[in-house]
Each structure stands twice: as structure tokens, then as C-alpha cells.
Symmetry: C2
Subunit: 375 residues, 2 copies
């Protein structure tokens, strides 16, 4: 076999402004970290970096959980790590589905042998604690899973009371924080989320490729009591724990560069401060929402539970979804996304996350959107 080398030109990517549901733009300091030559995954300097990263992850998760680490895949691998380790064959599982990613959790929980019950809400709505309680009163669940920030709808699910309800009937709570961690408050210990996971490519301002995850003592107790091994070897926390604990027992070759990137991304979070970072995400979202209102465009999610990190806005009547997005991309290098599932063709999804959440980006988008829609 031979190749025509001319068909493989040098990498030459367009300079996009990433304002979709992720990945978001990467901070220049993180890009620089990505270009660092490697050390080995068992090098003393890398082991030290792992420890520092764990400390920074505890800060962004607001937790004291010892088992706070990353799994070596994207956000979906974080989701699967949560499900694969918490759900044993035959376990009763309740999944609250109000969007695409809730449905994905339910699919995974079935694959790992869970007896899955699903409660649903319209996409864009959130669950009330009493709805969750009613479902658990009717059938208790060892595992309850819910999405904190639904990337497909832009709705933010309050978790405080739900966590108490889940614990009162003896279960563990899995919370998906893929589109919230680092952009809005995710208070793992205070709220009582037992397994919480995220991705690096949204509000943490890094490329995709790692999934931060944390396990509470209650989650570890469930893990330790398993009767069967975790089917998923790559994401098996009983093995990964030994790799990330003091022993650093070899498990797999960590993605070194992505760990460099995450460390730098977390340093940026720490320098900015979590509270200031949450405020920045709120303020830029407010700027976007006001600008959309000025163009008579309606947000899909009521403000009471609207995510500042990802806004779903209804596509105005008579406006061509695909044509607008294609012109934004082709003429202005701006990426926003269309709707998924129930919301396909009905909303656009606009992300303001991490390094993408900047005042100038909001103005650029609003101006370009106005030109594309109104000419």
C-alpha cells in the first residue's frame, strides 16, 4: 500500500469562536501546557502533578472526598465510570430524565444490569423534590441519577433536597456536572452528591479528553460491598483507586498532556477564584439574555432554573435553523449549536463557558446574529 502524500496537507484549522455546548475555547496558557514534552506516567514529577491536580479538583468540586481524580476519557467516560461502579446487576435504579443526557444515563444503567425506573419531564423543565420522593416512595432505589446541568436543554436542576430524599431511603445520588463544574456552583459535600463527574472541555477551559470525578464515603461503601467485579476494566474504581492512591499501582498509561492541560486549567480557576468565576459566567449570560431580548428572542428555560453556562433560545418563527448556523460559521467563524431530540429545530444552544465566557464574545455573537437574521 502506498499513499499520495499530497492528500494529507498540514493541519490548518479555522479560527472558530466556540459558543456551542462544548468544547469551548481553550485558554492560551492551557494550550501552551499541551505542547509540553512528556515525562513518563510513573515519573516522580508526574506523580506529584497527580496529587496537586487532585487537590485542585477537590476545590472545584467543593469536597473533601479522598477519591477525587480523573478518568482518562471524555465526559461520557465520566458518566460511565459513575454508572459502571455504582450499579450492580439487579440494583434498583431511578433515573430522572429531562433531556438527552438523562436518557443516556438510563441506557447505560440498563447495560450494567440495573433494574431501571425512569421519571420524565418535558425538555427544559426540572424535577421537584416531591416528584422524586413520590417515585422513591413507590419503589426505593439503591442508585438515583440526575443531571445537574442538562446540556441539551439549558436547565439547571436544584439538587439539595433531592439528595436528602435519596439518602433518607438509603440510596446514593449520582449527579452529572458536565456543563456546570467550574461555571456555576457545584457543592458536592454541602449538597450531598455521592458521585459527581464532569468534563474538561466546558467550564474548565481545557480540551476534551479527561473526566474529573469524585466519590463520597457513601459511594465508596457501596463500591466496597459489590458482590461482582465492575464489568468495565478501564473505568473500574477498585483498580483506579490503587493507581491514584499513595501506591500509584500501574493501571493504564495516563494521557500525560491532558493532565498537564487540566493542571494549568485548574490553576487558572484557582487564581480567578471560584466565586469570581461563577459571577463572570452569570454576568456574561445576563449580557447575552438582555441582547437576545432586545432582538425579541425568547429563552426556552424560565430564569429561575436557566443555566448561565448554556442558553437555549427559541428560533424565531420563519427563521431557518440550519441556514443561520451555517452563515454564522462560514461568514463569522462562530459556532453555536442546534437543538437535540425534542428540541431539534426549535432552539439554538449558546454556550458561554470557561475561556469562551467573555464580554467581547457575547457582543460579537449578538452583532453577527442580528446581521444574519435581519440582514
Amino acid at each position: 500500500m502506498t499513499l499520495d502524500l499530497t492528500t494529507f496537507p498540514e493541519l490548518n484549522t479555522p479560527p472558530r469562536l466556540l459558543l456551542g455546548p462544548g468544547p469551548s475555547l481553550v485558554h492560551p496558557r492551557v494550550l501552551r501546557a499541551m505542547a509540553t514534552q512528556l515525562v513518563g506516567h510513573l515519573d516522580p514529577s508526574f506523580v506529584e502533578l497527580m496529587g496537586r491536580t487532585q487537590a485542585l479538583l477537590r476545590y472545584v468540586f467543593q469536597t473533601e472526598n479522598a477519591l477525587t481524580l480523573t478518568v482518562s476519557g471524555t465526559g461520557t467516560a465520566g458518566m460511565e465510570a459513575a454508572i459502571a461502579n455504582m450499579v450492580e446487576p439487579g440494583d434498583s435504579v431511578l433515573v430522572c430524565v429531562a433531556g438527552y443526557f438523562g436518557a443516556r444515563i438510563a441506557d447505560m444503567a440498563k447495560r450494567y444490569g440495573g433494574e431501571v425506573q425512569v421519571i420524565t419531564k418535558a425538555w427544559g423543565e426540572v424535577f421537584t423534590p416531591s416528584e422524586v420522593k413520590a417515585a422513591l416512595d413507590a419503589r426505593p432505589a439503591k442508585v438515583v441519577a440526575i443531571v445537574h446541568a442538562e446540556t441539551s436543554t439549558g436547565a439547571m436542576q436544584p439538587l439539595d433536597e433531592i439528595a436528602q430524599i435519596v439518602h433518607a431511603q438509603g440510596g446514593v445520588l449520582i449527579g452529572d456536572a458536565v456543563t456546570s463544574l467550574g461555571g456555576i456552583a457545584v457543592r458536592v459535600d454541602e449538597v450531598g452528591i455521592d458521585v459527581c463527574y464532569s468534563g474538561t472541555q466546558k467550564c474548565l477551559g481545557c480540551p476534551p479528553g479527561l473526566a474529573p470525578i469524585t466519590f463520597s464515603p457513601r459511594a465508596l461503601e457501596k463500591l466496597d460491598k459489590r458482590q461482582t467485579p465492575v464489568t468495565n476494566w478501564y473505568l473500574d474504581m477498585t483498580l483506579l483507586r490503587a493507581y491514584w492512591d499513595q501506591g500509584r499501582a500501574y493501571h493504564h498509561t495516563a494521557p500525560i498532556s491532558m493532565n498537564y492541560a487540566l493542571y494549568e486549567g485548574l490553576r487558572l480557576v484557582a487564581e480567578e477564584g471560584l466565586e469570581a468565576r461563577w459571577a463572570r459566567h452569570r454576568e456574561n449570560a445576563r449580557l447575552l439574555w438582555d441582547g437576545l431580548q432586545d432582538m425579541d428572542m425568547q429563552p426556552h428555560v424560565p430564569e429561575a432554573y436557566r443555566l448561565p453556562t448554556l442558553t437555549t433560545v427559541r428560533i424565531p418563527a420563519g427563521v431557518d435553523d440550519m441556514a443561520v448556523r451555517k452563515r454564522l460559521l462560514d461568514e463569522y467563524n462562530i459556532e453555536i449549536a442546534g437543538g437535540l431530540g425534542e428540541l431539534r429545530g426549535k432552539v439554538w444552544r449558546i454556550g458561554l463557558m470557561g475561556f469562551s465566557s467573555r464580554r467581547e464574545n457575547v457582543l460579537t455573537l449578538l452583532t453577527a446574529l442580528d446581521k444574519v437574521i435581519h440582514g
Copy 2:
């Protein structure tokens, strides 16, 4: 929670010469690709990049397989993708174990419900076709798995005749090419390997984080006939196929930067040419072997099936394994590795892979090793 920022200093990694079992050093052009700002994972330019990467992967795998792609994890995720998709609960599986990674395959195959039979050889040995045939005559297997290049022993397993034997009794052959792809010949179609996977961080000269993998028509036929869904959602090829095929149906957020890196790494392979690249790996291995012999050090694996990419050399009597490796690292910034399992304390593992496989690196190592051992 507050943080003491002074405990999180700027990333400052030591300039290691990586001559262990991987990761190997990354080519400067690949590092530059890593630092490229992102586009979205559904961006037209990224979709085009995926297609080009697939064409280049077919070249390095020497295959026409349509389903040739990467999974978004390290080499172990590639192994798990092979097992999770090929092994259905109740399937008879034969695993040939002559080292650490063969044993890992057997563990995974059991977790996915395989009825696993294991045949073993001493670490550093390889299987004869007749040994595999005898095992399959005694108990046929739907899936046979074997490691082409055992990272834990440095032995290279010939696969040609074994593939024919496996096919003659109606099974599929899984071959682990983590430490061979891009460094020695891996002729997937000619040999008849049905599922072949590797990692990016060894002979391809990229950071760890992606696992190239390819499925033959025979493997796809087995996949299509499954009675049960693949337990592993993240690595489910029935879903990943739809993402990498023409449709590009959303599955997960690909690690954009790692895909940039792999594309550049594969361009470098194509520019050098596979045959020239294999020759370079052979020549530098020969230089190493001759140099070790001059120091009266014995290779663990007979030359007939010794890997040029990874050499296991016996630690001379009276020499302190750990002390030598620590001095190489601390005084010369050189990483080599110790033995695993049966070979712990008995051998060192020296990798000459990808961008690490250079004449000057061999000389540096030999000289430093001589100074450390002989003063």
C-alpha cells in the same frame, strides 16, 4: 474552601529522555499540533480531519477495513473495545498469555461474560501455531486473543499461521499491537487479524490518549450478530460506527487536540514511509543490542522473536535494579523501566519507539548505563 495558591506552582517538567515501555518522546511537530486552538467536534473541518486520519490509519495497519478509527482513551481502552465488542456472554474465548498484557485480556474477557480458556508460556517466550491448534482442537473458541508485541517481555509473537488456524475453526482473532504499530510490520489484512488495536504513545510518536483500532468484515459480522447490546457504552462499536461513518451521528465529544496530534503523527509516518520506519527501528535496536553485548549484558528474548521496539535485558548479577534506574533518572534524566510480574527485578525494559528511536539516544543511554554500572 480556600486554597494556598503558592502550593500549585507553574508546570515545570524535567527534560526526560523517554526510553521505557512508553510513553515515548513526542515529535516537535506533534507537540505543535497539540497547542492548536480547538474547533468543535462536529465542525466540517474536524469531520474532514477524521476522514483523513482514517485513511492514514488504514495505511499504518496495512488494511482496507472500513471500520478503522480511534477510540477516545489510551491503549487499554483499545483492548477493552476489542473485548467488549467481540465477546458476548457465554462465548468461548481462548487467550494466549505470555506476559502481563495477555493476562489483562483474559481478565477483561471474563468480565464481559466470556467462557475463558487460557494457555500460557513463560514470559519472554512465544506460542507455536501447533500449541494454539491443540488448544482449539480440544475446545473451539469464537474469539482468540493474543498479544503481537508483549510490552512486559519484549517478545514478538508471529501471527500468520495462528490467524489461519483461528479462522479454520470459525473464530475471530484479536491482536494487540500496542508496542508494534508504526515500529514493526503489522499487516492486518495479509495476516488476517480481525480486530487489531494500538496506542498513540509508543511507535506513533504521539502523546497517550487515543487508541487506533480496526475491525475486519469477519469481526463486523460477529458484531452484527450479537444477541445482547455491548455493555460498554463509551466503546460500543455499533454506536461508534455511526459516529465515524458518513452520518457522523453524535456519540461523544472527541478529544480534539489528541486527534490533531495523531493526524500530525501519522503524516510523519507517511512522510518517512512505513518500510523506512521499520528499518529505523531495527537499526537502532541493533545498535542497542550490540552495545549491551559489549557490556556483557544478555537480552532476555532470543533474537528470532525479539522486539526491536522494546528490549528486555537481564540485570547483571550483583547490580541493584532500583538504584541504577534511579541514578539514570536523577543524574542523566533517562527513563528506562524495570520488569513486571515474573520478570520483576530480573530485567530492565528499554524502549526505542517512535521519536525516541534515534541513534543519538542509544549512545546516550549506553554511555550513561556504563557509567552508572561501572563507575
